[in-house]
Symmetry: C2
Subunit: 506 residues, 2 copies
């Protein structure tokens, strides 16, 4: 069913990427076999979207009813045929071919079924890594250090030579917090060993072993959904209400006016206000016996509505944390892996001193965090769990990192991102009653709507035209394409965006 | 290097398991090719351990130094050659072949490189599942409901038709807690919708949206290492000290005397004491405005020292939670997947009403939890994250579940477990000054030592003989073999155990 659409669509390999040998690369995907045999080697993804039903279509709707028997399906958009999907195009179970600008909540680095990743699966040498998931902290594979060097350390932020893998973004942040707590307490006790009282009381969740410490976060932030992460998360009530929460300090994240270059002075003041609030909350923590051990911040607030702050703001946070002797954790779960035009978004800030902890997940395929040497756990069994990550994700990441270098994908992100932002600004000029705040770094772009209803209406109409997009905040459309997204994809999208907006303004 | 040991070891396929066609099944593992070509099809794993160096050997030691440059390696035992490992035998990078009774902290269901799991990797149809990890909560694959039915629902505990996947054990427990909080608050507000004040205040971690609720746990428990899980964890100070903790109630877990049938009355009183403490803590929570929304308990306390409690105790917890209208979460992360001789350990308790939430991970390959219908999230986006699990783990689990049925592995666990426990009791009778408390269900067995030093000394000597074992608590040796562990493996182990204990008592 799904394949018939693809079979009749001429497929081309994205320009600007070196074409893989598809006869070899794609052969094992059985559903594609007949396509591959008759297509030129420079074919890979469809040349455009193709919509054959409403989305969700009848098969998706049937599957939704079915899955609803098993779990809450309130967030499900439609069901997918991942085997048939290719590159920037997601194919659903009804055979609709959609240009994907959201890529599984920003978690696919190279789009669907990229040959470089398929090669990992095709190679029998790699299979044992997928079937024997080790307890990495106790029994690592012989090539583990080398794998970390060829992947996570090869792309480490400046100032970082230490890295620990984790399963997901939440576990990465949770354990990054521990690295900050340990460092803070190590300094506080001046190198003295743990007392028996500390060890014993910690087992009962009591002082002094379980100290009164907090971590400062920002309004609208999202850092994950486990309890430590949730204490730092303030974007949507659905994630929070009815769950007990730690009463940790929350500073305002700068609410900047756009266009940024027209409101420089106003925005500078807003950021200074927020920094002063941070300092004040840290002081209050000291005064009320609940010291702030660290600050957690996204390089760009994503779920909270794609809120950008300036390099000055982040330098301010770095200065405050250094002055107070507390940690700075930069959460790059959504902003890492090149999407902003640098490998890590915080590299745009030219900080005088790199963040102490940098967390990652999503497009990096493995979760984990970098930490400065001084934030390394000193004792064993402090940062540990059964799996401590998954080597099968790291060998896939190795293919991604190599492909990013080979095809200069970060360079491509900059080219595509410039075109995307420029076109968003054009659309904003064309539909000033609907769109504002077009903004972005690399392809990490967004634009705000006049209201939630118009945005959601637009997103739905876009989907019916085969444009799969994501939202964040209350009025924001966010763009989270793969690193292989090209200017021609931007153009395809803008054609549909224009048509939908014209329809909406009628 | 590592392979030379295997090549000269006659390999046999474990008795009692249907032999795979190794010529076909194992062919793609390149390092094994020459072995496979000359071996009979009934070969699979080595017939015994083979030690060629100290363990850790020179290569492991070199790798340890190398990895130490990147992260704390205090828990690393040795480095492994997973491609060369087979069945119940783990091969290290120095070519030592070890019988594995710990199986990656109890997380390998079928041992190493099991043909049924390798078949999943060999099938090109499955490859796209490994390279396109979906955001399952938004864009599930078309076969998702069917996959859940053929795996997690096919083995669901009685009373459960709802299941949600997660990435790891900690995330499973964290989200299981949320299911209990939501249910508790839904009852408390009598079906009324959330107020605006609740929604708004929850974003600031404040009352009433972030209510004062707790979850009751037990001394010595381990439920994970994220902040919600850590609040319920009380087994080792290294996991806890310096990290702020929620002041939630902790009841004593029964400290039973062994042999259980000799101390029935005493143990009954001990369990009644603990149950009374639970009731008292719940009452106190009501009185001090910090209501207990649920109880979290392991079916068998594992990390805490393999502490068993009786069916009566768990029925008592079920009665108390039902009476109080609060949730009962049974944590089966380590006890699930058949290791106790039933698929879920709590099935040994014949509860009059099944637990409300049952968490799993480890041998299940995917994390997640079952929840009763009444504990299902009512609104969307309540239990959600980027990935919500990983279908590539579920297709591997499908192979595991099929193999468990095909080869009656739970039946095998009962046979092997009976032999293991009987032999442990023999050893205990033979070395009464060293061993006591031999106990177990299925192959989930353990025995305690006179002191920590003797245990650790024994574990090290066992390792030097090619027996890889695990510990828990302060004096416990725990057995966590794969489901394919056979009486002959027990015999091989006991020969070495006897020799080591004889040496220790000299």
């Amino acid at each position: 069913m799904a394949m018939s659409g693809l079979r009749t669509t001429r497929m081309i390999w994205s320009r600007g990427l070196k074409a893989p040998s598809c006869h070899l690369q794609c052969r094992p995907m059985s559903a594609m076999a007949s396509v591959q045999q008759t297509q030129h080697r420079e074919t890979f993804e469809p040349e455009g979207p193709r919509v054959v039903t409403d989305i969700p279509g009848p098969r998706s709707k049937q599957m939704l009813q079915d899955l609803d028997q098993i779990q809450n399906v309130g967030m499900v958009k439609f069901f997918c045929d991942y085997e048939a999907s290719r590159g920037n195009y997601l194919v659903d179970v009804d055979g609709n071919v959609m240009l994907d600008l959201f890529t599984q909540i920003s978690s696919l680095p190279l789009g669907y079924n990229h040959p470089a990743m398929m090669d990992v699966l095709k190679n029998p040498v790699n299979w044992s890594t997928f079937v024997n998931r080790p307890a990495l902290g106790m029994y690592p594979p012989g090539d583990w250090a080398q794998r970390l060097r060829s992947t996570l350390l090869a792309v480490a932020p400046a100032g970082h030579q230490q890295v620990i893998t984790m399963g997901c973004g939440s576990c990465s942040v949770e354990n990054g917090l521990k690295a900050m707590f340990m460092k803070f307490m190590r300094v506080r006790r001046g190198g003295a060993p743990y007392t028996q009282e500390e060890m014993d009381s910690s087992l009962r969740n009591q002082l002094p072993g379980s100290p009164n410490l907090s971590v400062l976060s920002f309004s609208n932030a999202l850092h994950g959904r486990t309890m430590g992460c949730l204490a730092l998360t303030h974007s949507k009530w659905q994630m929070k209400v009815d769950f007990p929460a730690l009463d940790w300090p929350i500073a305002d994240f700068p609410n900047l006016r756009y266009p940024l270059d027209e409101f420089k002075e106003e925005n500078r003041k807003e950021e200074e206000r927020c920094l002063a609030m941070v300092e004040d909350l840290i002081l209050k923590g000291d005064q009320n016996g609940m010291a702030v051990a660290g600050i957690v911040v996204e390089s760009i607030q994503a779920e909270g509505g794609d809120q950008f702050a300036s390099a000055n703001f982040f330098q301010g946070l770095r200065d405050i944390t250094n002055k107070k002797g507390i940690g700075l954790l930069m959460d790059e779960v959504q902003t890492g892996c090149g999407v902003t035009g640098k490998f890590w978004a915080h590299e745009h800030f030219n900080l005088t001193d790199s963040p102490d902890v940098v967390t990652f997940s999503k497009k990096m395929l493995t979760g984990g965090f970098y930490n400065k040497d001084s934030f390394r756990p000193q004792e064993s069994n402090r940062i540990f769990n059964t799996w401590v990550g998954d080597p099968s994700k790291v060998i896939l990441l190795e293919a991604v990192v190599k492909e990013m270098t080979r095809s200069n994908l970060i360079g491509q992100v900059n080219v595509t991102g410039e075109h995307l932002l420029s076109e968003l600004k054009n659309m904003q000029a064309r539909y000033p009653s609907i769109l504002h705040k077009a903004r972005g770094l690399g392809t990490f772009c967004s634009v705000d709507f006049c209201d939630t209803e118009t945005r959601d209406n637009t997103v739905n109409k876009l989907r019916q035209r085969g444009m799969n997009t994501g939202v964040c905040g209350t009025t924001t459309l966010r763009f989270r394409p793969a690193l292989t997204f090209l200017p021609r994809h931007v153009d395809i999208f803008m054609g549909h965006f224009d048509a939908v907006l014209a329809d909406v303004t009628k």
